[in-house]
Symmetry: C2
Amino acid sequence: MKQATLQVEGMSCNHCVNSIEKAIKELGAEGKVNLSGKTVTVDYDESKLTIETIKEAIEDQGYDVV
Amino acid sequence: MKQATLQVEGMSCNHCVNSIEKAIKELGAEGKVNLSGKTVTVDYDESKLTIETIKEAIEDQGYDVV
Ligand SMILES: [Cu+2]
Ligand SMILES: [Cu+2]
């Protein structure tokens, strides 16, 4: 398991938190949003998933990964 | 049909817009959120619905009607 923290712009409310954490969960990983810190911390299995795939999933929800 | 515009605090993104407009639609009325103006304009049938019921539906979504 690997942990990465991404800087993400555009998250403003709990709906945003839910949509991002859900999208990450659907990839089989675990995401934790810090709204005020503008970060998403992800625990994932790097043998199954790349950080690029996770970034794309977040961007697909309408947010910018810095 | 009557139209009313409410000042609403706490709306920050399109998820907020959707949740409020959906809650109003479920009452049988039509709501339009202006995010930057922090307003919700509602068209409703005052023979079927009171503005108090609409305010409660918005507050139930987690927002403050001023
Ligand atoms: Cu949001
Ligand atoms: Cu929102």
